[in-house]
């Protein structure tokens, strides 16, 4: 442990460190201290921001004072405007993600289970995956216009790729031993799928689902920046055009918080599913 910490960069940090072992705090105290340490830098940044704003170091269009950002946040929440944008963005993500998930999981399972199908389809999917998601936007704009269809399609593509790749990999990585046991028990094809393949591949598939949601969220912001009249991405564009940096900053914060919340939610579901997974694998009935 000592050696690891020894690498830290400055003498000032060194002084702080040598004191640490002497005050052997109890577990939870250390936890609180650790948590608080994370706030030091943001608070310093906030302080610097406030000082710079009150001394007019930078024009307001470049860096509005913190209370102004807070005020526009409060205003937008009160007027219900922010909630409206959030609702629209979330709806798009849910629709696009659901579409991408259905296609991605089905296709992933199919090519994972059938080597012949895999031979035929995989190169095509690989080629498709090479184009960055946002690259499709201009093409789909011509095909679908700039309405909801475009957004949902782009988000679906973004979600689809990691899910199909991970599902295929997960199904193929099911241990041969398990499949052999299933064959010995004369499981039907359906039983093999439900009792062996599905439970064994859930963790990797879930990784794909989480990546899918992250990518979908990223794609949503991208596509809303390019073509939208509502939603969080539009809020960013609008703020930029009007040179309302407070709006840009608060939209960024909302995007960050929502992105985190969604990923956190999936992580919790994932943990639940892992526990459930032990059942069907261990349960001989």
């Amino acid at each position: 442990m000592r050696i690891v910490t020894d690498i830290s960069m400055t003498a000032a940090l060194g002084a702080f460190r040598t004191q640490a072992p002497r005050t052997r705090a109890r577990g939870w105290v250390r936890l609180v201290v650790t948590a608080l340490a994370g706030f030091i830098v943001p608070l310093l940044a906030l302080l610097l921001w406030q000082v710079s704003a009150s001394r007019d170091w930078l024009p307001q269009q470049i860096l509005p004072p913190p209370d102004m950002v807070w005020q526009s946040f409060v205003d937008m929440v009160k007027s219900g405007e922010l909630l409206g944008h959030i609702e629209i963005s979330l709806q798009r993500v849910v629709e696009g993600f659901a579409l991408g998930a259905v296609i991605g999981l089905t296709l992933g399972f199919s090519i994972g289970l059938s080597p012949i199908l895999d031979d035929y389809l995989s190169p095509l999917i690989t080629a498709f995956a090479q184009v960055p998601t946002l690259g499709w936007v201009p093409l789909l704009m011509i095909l679908l216009g700039i309405d909801e269809g475009l957004k949902v399609a782009i988000i679906a593509i973004a979600a689809f790729i990691p899910m199909v790749i991970n599902t295929r990999a997960a199904v193929r990585a099911v241990p041969q031993g398990l499949l052999e046991v299933a064959r010995c028990f004369m499981y039907t094809r359906r039983q093999q799928l439900l009792r062996v393949v599905l439970p064994a591949s859930v963790p990797t598939i879930f990784t794909g689902i989480r990546y899918g949601l992250t990518h979908a969220w990223k794609a949503l912001v991208g596509v809303e920046l390019l073509a939208s009249a509502e939603g969080l991405g539009y809020l960013l564009v609008w703020g930029r055009q009007m040179f309302w940096l407070d709006m840009v900053l608060l939209a960024m914060a909302v995007i960050g918080v929502l992105g985190f919340a969604m990923d956190y939610g999936l992580a919790r579901i994932e943990r639940r599913l892992q526990r459930w997974r032990i059942g069907p694998l261990g349960d001989p009935s």
Partner: protein, 246 residues
């Protein structure tokens, strides 16, 4: 291999025929051959190569900047407990912001020229490199660290002989991810900040003029470049980690 080519060839043929026989509007679906011809013409007349080079230069500039910064920052987070406690939460918080959401802010601060684009690409490359470097450094085996202590390695020796080699595979994964992320970011900036040459600009221009063949050509190039970057990174990774199995 033959099976893999079947479907793409059938699709290409169907595309070509549908367009040639008038089953699909050729403005919406120009024949595949026309896309290639467009590429040939663009190569000689529209400075396709210049646009591609502009995109790649931009991509590499942002990528190198972001990777270098990411390596330093990731090492700090991975090796210094204090550094991790002070800066880790801020980094992990900021990381949550979907990458494209930075574009408006960056364009307000840095304009819409080359600098803004490179800064944005650098941010995109920075995140995966930090995450993987941090994880790699943390994963250095206790035994190796102990050996280093016995041999009384100094700080630099520990870094170059123990931590860097054991973190290398993770770092390379991070770099590969950064390469993909920065290519996506390059396209993104070129779509949003359409000033200056670049493949993204070419595609947007094609859409504005409703020239589907130019749009498709551009997307084809995006895919080929993405594939090439990924292949190069994968190969480099295998070469550099060869010592692991030796």
């Amino acid at each position: 291999m033959r099976r893999g080519l079947t479907l793409p060839l059938i699709l290409l043929l169907a595309w070509e025929l549908a367009s040639r026989l008038g089953l699909a509007d050729p403005r919406i679906l120009p024949p595949a051959s026309q896309v290639l011809l467009r590429g040939w013409a663009a190569f000689w007349n529209d400075d396709l190569l210049g646009n591609l080079l502009a995109s790649l230069t931009r991509d590499l500039a942002g990528f190198s900047l972001g990777t270098l910064a990411g390596l330093c920052f990731g090492t700090l987070l991975g090796l210094s407990r204090l550094g991790d406690r002070l800066l880790g939460p801020s980094f992990h918080g900021l990381k949550q912001i979907a990458i494209f959401a930075w574009i408006p802010l960056i364009s307000m601060w840095f304009g819409i020229g080359e600098l803004a684009k490179i800064v944005f690409i650098a941010i995109a490359a920075f995140v995966p490199v930090v995450l993987n470097t941090e994880e790699g450094m943390r994963g250095a085996s206790r035994q190796l660290i102990e050996v280093g202590r016995v041999l009384t390695f100094n700080r630099r020796q520990r870094l170059t002989r123990i931590f860097l080699p054991s973190a290398l595979p993770a770092i390379l994964t991070g770099i590969q991810l950064a390469l993909m992320a920065s290519w996506l970011a390059t396209i993104g900036t070129e779509y949003f900040m359409t000033v200056g040459p670049g493949i993204g600009g070419l595609i947007i221009e094609g859409r504005e003029r409703f020239e589907m063949d130019q749009v498709m050509l551009g997307i084809l190039i995006l895919g080929v470049v993405g594939f090439a970057l990924n292949a190069v990174a994968g190969h480099l990774g295998r070469v550099l980690t060869r010592y692991e199995t030796a």
